[in-house]
Symmetry: C2
Subunit: 205 residues, 2 copies
DNA sequence: TGACATACCTACTGGTCGGTTTGTAGTTTG
DNA sequence: CAAACTACAAACCGACCAGTAGGTATGTCA
């Protein structure tokens, strides 16, 4: 049930990070249930004892992966995007950021779903879900954009934000499922989606 | 590996259908991996031997569920929607049909993903995926709509269709993940999405 | 009414997988 | 330098679960 289990020594901390790195990749590729602890163990080059010394359970390890990744990109988004102080620019940047992230780091978006998969077994309210964080982020931008008149959309900002994030999320998973070979497919379709949103949310003139 | 394992007798066929009915519900709720054969057995009120008499494996049962459901709604869509011979009406009807289906029959959309979950273990090309069928359906409508001038959109019809279907799919899964209690949430957001698509794809004038 | 298929049940097996226990090098600290 | 702690390794455990073995009951038809 504890979280920051160990890492008191430089060596221990390094190993812990290495485990997190590999675990993020495997979890993202295969999902929580389909990931075997032995998969991670094999790829890290350690043994069961080592992993369970640093993390008390499979769920704890996965949660640590989620928390670490979430903190990382929340910081990046904060620095690179929300600093613009311009909802229109922020929304565009965020869209491009999402697309770029999905395209470059294949494991990144997989981790976004880990928290939700954990919620089934664990009793996490889902509030810590990276997905919810994305929605909140977009929702905030939409609200400020509407207030300043540069963005228009019907209904609740939260709902609109959810639709936007969900569209991206669905595009990723559907493309993975239907055209796993077609490497450009996601990029093409995401661009299309961005165009669509641009014309829909940005106030003409 | 066989498909229509049994069902030679009226009684046998009835049991087989009952198993399919229950299995569809359980698979849709919990997904392929998380579903235990014992779950289905309990709800059907039979035993292991009975299920394995009618279906040779868990994967075979799931595949049968997918095939049966897919055939059913493909027929319905054919009759209720594609008979209109009007791309604009068809697209609107199809959108409403999807929303209505998701809202009324909670297990319906879950089954759509079963085939994809099977592809991991099994070696199904994924071509039989209901998701692919939906995309093809929309893609066809878009093509005919563009040809007759009532629909406009940039790029490949297949890509546009994928974006549309993916947006719905993502909306369903994201809403389930983030707001499982909020019953109207999906409806509200889906309506928003339909408006959005309306203004984007339907030629103004 | 005997032969054979259909339809179903009970009990078990074999493998998988998360987690535990125990041991033991190396490192730090008193 | 000895006790104590850190950071791992190796072997093992027990629960879970898909699938099987072998039986029984209920037709059906000649």
């Amino acid at each position: 049930m504890e979280f920051g289990d160990t890492g008191s020594t430089p060596k221990g901390a390094a190993t812990r990070n290495e485990i997190l790195r590999v675990a993020a990749d495997v979890f993202a590729r295969k999902g929580f249930e389909q990931t075997r602890m032995d998969d991670i163990i094999r790829e890290v080059g350690l043994t069961k004892g080592a992993i369970y010394f640093h993390f008390s359970s499979k769920a704890t390890l996965a949660q640590a992966v989620v928390d670490e990744q979430k903190a990382r990109w929340l910081r990046r988004v904060q620095e690179e995007i929300l600093s613009k102080n311009n909802p229109l620019v922020e929304l565009r940047s965020l869209g491009e950021f999402m697309v770029r992230t999905v395209l470059s780091d294949s494991s990144a978006w997989g981790v976004v779903h880990l928290a939700n998969q954990l919620a089934s077994a664990n009793e996490h309210p889902g509030a810590s879900s990276p997905l919810a964080a994305w929605v909140d982020l977009v929702s905030g931008i939409l609200q400020r954009g509407r207030a300043s008149g540069v963005l228009t959309f019907p209904g609740d900002p939260g709902d609109a934000a959810t639709v936007i994030v969900a569209a991206f999320d669905g595009l990723k998973s559907v493309t993975d499922a239907l055209d796993p070979k077609d490497l450009d497919a996601f990029g093409r379709r995401a661009t299309l989606l961005l165009q669509l949103l641009e014309q829909q949310f940005v106030s003409s003139q």
